[in-house]
């Protein structure tokens, strides 16, 4: 059923690969559990523009995010599933670090594995190479599809439409990688998904940054460990994440790109924030902290203030006594040139939290007209 799809085979060979594996004990212990074959579908992708690498996965078993997805910026991304050997994650990343391509990594892992025909893996390397493997003993329906810069695969699925749907959704969805990965999971579920049902899901995206090294391991890293509708829950979390961290992250990359003379990419990063704002307002977002994070990021970067004020007003209507939110709203009014309204709102905040020196300083600042 399965095959390794080879894209290209440049010079680096297996000796380096085996050296990379030398730090691991190669003999995998057979799992005792009768239920060790786990129905799962996943997508692994690389974005050549943003250099993001990511994995999204759903499964009918507990905490799929502990075992299946592995990624490191500048190195690669891996999904290890079916008869899961979680050590393949770190082993594959170690091999990728030596310069092996995704197909070469699969060959190196296969050469040292006694249960390879029960495994399923997807690998993306940091140069755009991808490879997917479905062993012939993976339980029906099992298979994968290889795209130009992504692979998707699954086992114990309703049928081939699940994987085909994922691939189509990833290709056709616009926007950033996390959105496209989640669209792929949605499409898989809509096509019948995992025959056994749903329990957990995870989304992991990594991205290089000179000044935020943590993004190499966790740019977006969200888990749903045990839930009746894990993909839906994962989407809810991603929407909060977009406001809470995402907007700030995009402005961070916009600044990096500006500094590197890539105004086009900087504009694209800022556009991501505008998209998030439009989507949040359109769906009448109900998470006040999400709206507040988004509005605050826009305010402090003097961008999209027209939509940001709507987001902040909505957040304030959801939580009218939340001082953080009132402060955000005041800050936006001030940046829009409406000092009176800014002072009025911040004074309301100060009556709720009379001890706050910060709020007093803000009111004084609004009176003076200092931008911060």
């Amino acid at each position: 059923m399965g095959e390794i799809r080879l894209h290209r085979t440049p010079g680096r060979g297996l000796p380096a690969a085996l050296a990379a594996l030398a730090c691991f004990a190669l003999a995998g212990a057979p799992s005792a559990s009768a239920s060790s074959d786990r129905g799962t579908f996943s997508i692994v992708a690389h974005d050549s523009v943003t250099q993001e690498l990511g994995v999204a996965v759903q499964s009918k078993y507990f905490s799929v995010g502990t075992d299946v997805p592995w990624a490191e910026a500048g190195v690669g991304a891996v999904a290890t599933q079916a008869r899961v050997d979680p050590s393949f994650g770190l082993k594959a990343l170690a091999l990728l670090r030596t310069g092996l391509t995704a197909p070469e990594v699969l060959r190196a892992l296969a050469a040292n594995d006694s249960a390879w025909d029960a495994r399923q893996l997807g690998v993306a390397d940091a140069r755009g190479g991808v490879a997917s493997w479905t062993g012939s003993k993976c339980l029906d329906w099992a298979g994968g599809e290889t795209g130009a810069d992504f692979v998707c695969q699954g086992n114990i699925l309703a049928g081939p439409a699940v994987v085909a749907g994922m691939a189509k959704a990833y290709r056709e969805t616009q926007g950033e990688m996390a959105e496209r990965l989640l669209a792929a999971l949605d499409a898989a579920q809509a096509a019948g998904g995992d025959k056994r049902g749903m329990q957990s899901a995870a989304l992991l995206v990594v991205r290089p940054s000179a000044t935020r090294p943590q993004f190499s391991q966790r740019y977006i890293d969200l888990r749903v460990e045990d839930h009746k509708t894990p993909i839906k829950e994962l989407r809810r979390l991603l929407e909060i994440q977009e406001g809470f961290h995402g907007a700030d992250n995009h402005f961070h990359y916009a600044e990096q790109y500006e500094a590197a003379g890539r105004a086009d990419l900087a504009a694209r990063e800022r556009e991501r924030v505008a998209e998030t704002l439009r989507r949040a307002l359109a769906r009448r977002e109900r998470d006040a902290s999400m709206l507040n994070g988004l509005a605050w990021a826009c305010a402090t970067h003097d961008l999209y203030l027209g939509d940001a004020v709507k987001a902040a007003e909505r957040a304030a209507s959801l939580e009218p006594r939340n001082v953080d939110i009132l402060d955000t709203l005041a800050e936006i009014y001030f940046r829009q040139g409406n000092s009176n309204k800014a002072i009025e709102v911040e004074s309301r905040a100060a009556t709720i939290d009379p001890k706050s020196q910060y709020l007093k300083d803000q009111i004084a600042r609004f009176r003076k007209g200092v931008k911060g």
């Binding site: 009768a34 905490s63 995010g65 391991q217 969200l222 909060i240 961070h252 600044e255």
Partner: protein
């Protein structure tokens, strides 16, 4: 809005920090486990605060969180620097250190905790050999003191002791702003299972009304579905290494999980099933395993997987007739399952 992670670096405007978090970073000198448990009013605290690597160290970075402290701190620890030096090095290089809070424990149990003087009240920490506990925007010092007492007094594996510390922190008033997310990470050296070096226990509650209880709920699932097997793996490893005492300790952990599960009123069938299956297939704690399998069956009487576990336990307890009976029942719910047919044949032939 409180400044979210990273904003501080790029803007002049300094808003109060978003933190409102309490955490514990700790080390177990017997098992070599390193771990962090954390609770916060902020979304997805597990993405920002806890960082750990087996044989290296564990870090909690919070308050006006400088997330670069995670990977940078682990890098310094990897070079062999003790925890207090690593902490100083990180803070010395950071212009915003007065807003930071940081706990560091290294792989020899040395610990350090720092609370910047501009962290919002109440903020502070406490350290001892093998642990660093800290929190900000707390109800008071009783929170970290309560966490410390719970960590020191709780028996069992590191994850249990970390979770007990979170529960005690919350019971002492916890985070003044309330709760939103929680996380636990434990890492552990293993040559044969290198994934444990990065994720031995790695559970998240990203956005929940009662995150600590939800974290404990999913941890109980993990006990049955991963940890029991992990303990047996370590027991086998210690046996081979001639450390019978440590092997016994690992098997004892499984017995503790069984005791927990059987004593719990709202235990999940999958936890009971996982524990019973692991015990059955490894020939340990068979009496308790039978109770667990029977209870799982009572919860989900038509689940073929659970019936298979119950049959296996009967069989290992020497009751082949009952094993065949239960497995035949399982087959009636899943008639095309070749595995179940093989099991029945195996029970009849008496092979292990």
């Amino acid at each position: 809005m409180r400044a979210a992670a990273g904003i501080l670096a790029t803007i002049v405007l300094l808003a109060p920090p978003a933190g409102a978090t309490f955490s514990i970073a700790a080390y177990d000198s017997v098992t070599q486990e390193l771990g962090v448990a954390v609770q916060s009013r902020a979304f997805s605290v597990g993405m920002a605060v806890p960082w750990a690597e087996a044989g290296v160290g564990a870090i909690a970075t919070q308050a006006s969180t400088n997330e670069t402290f995670g990977p940078a701190g682990l890098g310094l620890l990897r070079s062999g620097k003790p925890a207090p030096e690593v902490m100083r090095a990180l803070l010395d290089a950071d212009s915003g250190s007065a807003h930071r809070q940081l706990g560091v424990v290294d792989a020899r149990g040395r610990s350090a905790s720092f609370t910047g003087k501009l962290c919002s009240e109440w903020a502070g920490g406490v350290t001892g050999p093998g642990y660093a506990i800290q929190g900000n925007i707390l109800a008071g010092e009783a929170v970290v003191k309560g966490m410390e007492r719970a960590f020191l007094e709780t028996k069992g594996e590191l994850a249990e002791r970390l979770l007990a510390a979170l529960v005690a922190g919350q019971a002492a008033g916890g985070d003044k702003r309330g709760m939103e997310s929680a996380a636990i990470v434990v890492v552990r050296p293993s040559d044969q299972y290198p994934e444990y070096r990065a994720r031995y226990v790695d559970l998240r509650v990203e956005d929940h009304k009662d995150p600590i209880n939800e974290l404990i709920r999913v941890y109980r699932l993990l006990e049955g579905q991963r940890l029991a097997e992990a303990h047996i793996r370590f027991a086998d490893y210690y046996e081979k290494a001639g450390r019978k005492d440590l092997a016994r300790l690992e098997r004892e952990r499984v017995a503790e999980s069984l005791t927990h599960a059987l004593a719990s009123r709202d235990v999940d069938a999958s936890t009971l099933n996982g524990l019973a299956w692991t015990c059955a297939t490894n020939g340990v704690h068979l009496e308790e395993a039978l109770k667990a399998a029977e209870r799982a069956t009572a919860l989900e009487p038509k689940n073929a997987e659970i019936l298979d576990t119950l049959a296996e336990v009967y069989y290992r307890n020497g009751n082949a007739a009952k094993a065949v009976e239960v497995e035949t029942q399982a087959l009636s719910y899943s008639p095309n399952d070749a595995y179940l047919k093989d099991q029945i044949a195996r029970f009849k032939s008496g092979s292990k």
